[in-house]
């Protein structure tokens, strides 16, 4: 029983869950009406793709990639490459979040709302008096 | 210095002269006096005449003047090639440019027109493009100049910047750009199937390259561009609409460059790309000939009904241009020579008519034929020239029109097409029917029109070119070969195409 579950998870299960998380994030960006939520969903999506990378970096029986002795065997350590890549990805996501939040603030300041439908209504109202 | 003296560079020089003039006029035009600006035009046109004429002896000898500059697209160079057919058109265009320029100066000043700088610049650009069309050695070079001509004519058509001008400008663009783009697609197909684009007398396409339905489609895709510019029905309607432009522009459109470029395009496509054999076997030439016949008859009938003088002349042009197309499509050496010579003949005759119409408009502000009663009293010289040119259009013997029409008729007879012969004769009568009333009204003796009591011709600038063209059109009728050997060129072109097939 346990081994079947394990095998299923290893082959498909974890990937499936990660991808569902990713699609939830993407869907959140599309269906949410609130810009703040869209931003949070964007973060969720990025986290999901980080999981995706880390998933196939795992190694059964491997330890964390800090060398314990001078002589190392590759099979003893978890693959460090996805970790390196994902560190970069996390940093990028923080940067994007920061920019997104400041944009969000400007939107609130100008339109007084961060709901998409309200915003579109107000945008249309001010079409004529636009100042670039 | 070899650049100036070497014979190969002459076609390039001929193109560049007016191109540089155009640039100079556009850049300097607003900053220098009008006299200086027009001097540029005149100097350039004189230079162009010299350059073009200087090539005549070489072409007569049969020397190939061939210039390959650089590859314009991969595998095809930007090349000029001076052959008799191109020479005919080039001579006409360059000769008429200087006359039109002189006339324009008189007309524009007499009329106090706006935007003269743009006008002269665009005019020079058109001539550049027309010369390029004459001397282009391959389809892509040809197409480049063809499109430049399209774009450069647009500001001329929309010259008055008013609603009417805008609309006719749009109409012009719609017709020419659409046909131009289709032409482009056809060139691509031709290049893809044949791997060459050099104009060859007798054509380079064969039936193996383009099987039957494709051949006909591509034929009309290519000829369509020529048909639009040459105003073959049903693609003619931009031409009468373009009448809103000033008269020198009409002269340019109808006589010097634009519609002739269309006719020339048809010539190149039918005889130099497809060749008589393929054009015949795919039935393209036949269909086109019948369309030309239809155009000749219908446009003459329409012209009968028009009371605006310029509109009447415009429909006359539509009909006359179809003579050229018909001559090409009969596919005999005689008719081809006749068609080419008709480019010359029609140019001189029609430009006389237009210049006369313009002179009348500038001096008396009359456009409608019915108001011209007794005009002959006031402007006898103008009206005399008008009369001469009318005879020419109708194809009277000893006028330029006769020579070309006779040749086309010979060709039609040789091919055994009695209906074409009949058409040509009927249309000559119709031409008389729509042009003679103008003459008759103008010279009607019994009526005294108070408007035209005093004698008063247009300014000399306008009158002189008018008289010159009228005289030339008679001279060309009596001695077709005089001076420039244009008739010889036409015959040479016809022979070069058909001799290999004999």
């Amino acid at each position: 029983m346990m081994t079947t579950i394990n095998a299923f998870l290893a082959a498909k299960g974890i990937y499936l869950l990660t991808l569902i998380l990713l699609s939830l994030g993407a869907a959140g960006i599309i269906v949410c009406n609130n810009y703040m939520k869209k931003l949070i969903c964007m973060n969720v999506m990025q986290v999901a793709v980080i999981f995706f990378f880390l998933c196939f970096g795992q190694k059964t029986g491997g330890t964390i990639p800090v060398a314990l002795s001078e002589v190392v065997k590759a099979s003893e350590y978890i693959n460090p490459l996805p970790h390196g890549l994902m560190l970069t990805a996390i940093v990028v996501s923080l940067g994007t979040t920061g920019v997104g939040l400041s944009l969000l603030f400007r939107i609130t300041e100008k339109y007084g709302t961060i709901e998409e439908d309200d915003l579109i209504r107000r945008e249309n109202k001010t079409k004529t008096g636009e100042k670039e | 210095m070899t650049f100036i003296t070497a014979i190969e560079y002459r076609p390039l020089l001929a193109v560049m002269v007016s191109l540089i003039a155009s640039g100079l006029i556009y850049v300097l035009g607003e900053h220098i006096r009008p006299n200086a600006r027009e001097a540029i035009t005149l100097i350039a046109s004189a230079l162009k005449i010299i350059i073009v004429y200087s090539m005549i002896p070489y072409v007569l000898e049969g020397t190939e003047i061939h210039l390959e500059l650089f590859s314009i697209v991969k595998g095809v160079s930007f090349a000029f090639n001076v052959d008799p057919a191109g020479m005919v058109f080039a001579c006409v265009a360059s000769t008429l440019w200087i006359l039109t320029s002189v006339y324009s100066i008189g007309y524009m000043r007499g009329h106090g027109e706006q935007n003269q700088t743009g006008y002269y610049a665009a005019f020079a650009m058109c001539l550049s493009a027309a010369t390029g069309i004459c001397f282009a050695a391959n389809l892509i070079t040809f197409f480049i100049f063809y499109e430049v001509l399209t774009v450069a004519t647009y500001p001329l058509v929309a010259h008055y910047r008013d609603k009417e001008g805008t609309i006719s400008g749009r109409k012009y663009l719609a017709y020419t750009l659409i046909s131009g783009q289709i032409f482009f697609a056809a060139i691509v197909i031709v290049y893809a199937v044949s791997g060459t684009m050099e104009f060859t007398p007798g054509g380079f396409l064969t039936e193996e390259m383009l099987p039957m339905p494709w051949a006909l489609i591509v034929f009309f895709m290519m000829v369509g561009a020529g048909m639009v510019k040459a105003g073959v029905m049903p693609l003619h309607s931009w031409l009468p609409a373009a009448m809103v432009a000033p008269t020198p522009v009409s002269a340019l459109l109808h006589a010097v460059a634009v519609v002739k470029a269309g006719a020339f395009c048809t010539l190149r496509v039918v005889l130099y790309v497809f060749g008589p054999t393929l054009a015949k076997s795919c039935h393209g030439a036949d269909i086109l000939a019948w369309m030309a016949v239809f155009t000749i008859l219908v446009s003459s009938l329409i012209a009968l009904k028009k009371t605006n003088l310029k509109a009447r002349l415009a429909f006359s042009t539509v009909g006359q241009l179809s003579y050229i197309v018909l001559g090409i499509c009969i596919l005999t050496p005689f008719s081809t020579a006749g068609a080419l010579y008709h480019i010359v003949a029609h140019a001189f005759m029609k430009i006389t008519l237009f210049m006369a119409a313009g002179a009348i408009f500038v001096t008396t502000h009359k456009k409608d034929i019915r108001e011209m009663l007794g005009l002959g009293k006031r402007m006898p010289v103008t009206m005399a020239c008008f009369t001469l040119a009318s005879f020419g259009i109708a194809g009277f013997p000893f006028f330029a029109g006769f020579v070309s029409k006779a040749n086309i008729i010979f060709g039609a007879v040789a091919m055994g097409k009695p209906f074409f012969v009949a058409t040509l004769i009927v249309s000559a009568l119709l031409a008389l029917a729509y042009l003679m009333p103008v003459v008759l009204i103008a010279f009607k003796k019994e009526v005294e029109n108070p408007d035209f009591a005093a004698r008063g011709e247009a300014s000399l600038c306008m009158l002189v070119p008018l008289v010159i063209t009228a005289i030339i059109s008679i001279i060309l009728g009596i001695a077709p070969n005089i001076g420039l050997h244009l008739f010889d060129f036409s015959i040479m072109a016809g022979n070069s195409i058909f001799t290999p097939l004999m």
Binding site: L21, C32, K37, E115 | -
Partner: protein, 79 residues
Amino acid sequence: MTLILEAILLLGLIGITVAIIFGKDLMTSVVIYCAFSFITMFLYIVMGAPDVAFTEAVIGVISTVFFIIILRSVNRKTK
């Protein structure tokens, strides 16, 4: 065994995401998102990526603070 733990944590994350999407109060969403970060960090450790987890821990805090700063000027309620 780790895989099952991962699966459970991932399911938790999915639940949180659904809660964020359908929540009515932005403050709640942001606070839940903080929890999301925390679970994520835990998950990274389970996956054997302590460096990433460390980073996520720090970033989780910082981005939550950013969110809350912005939230003060935004209407908390949402449809």
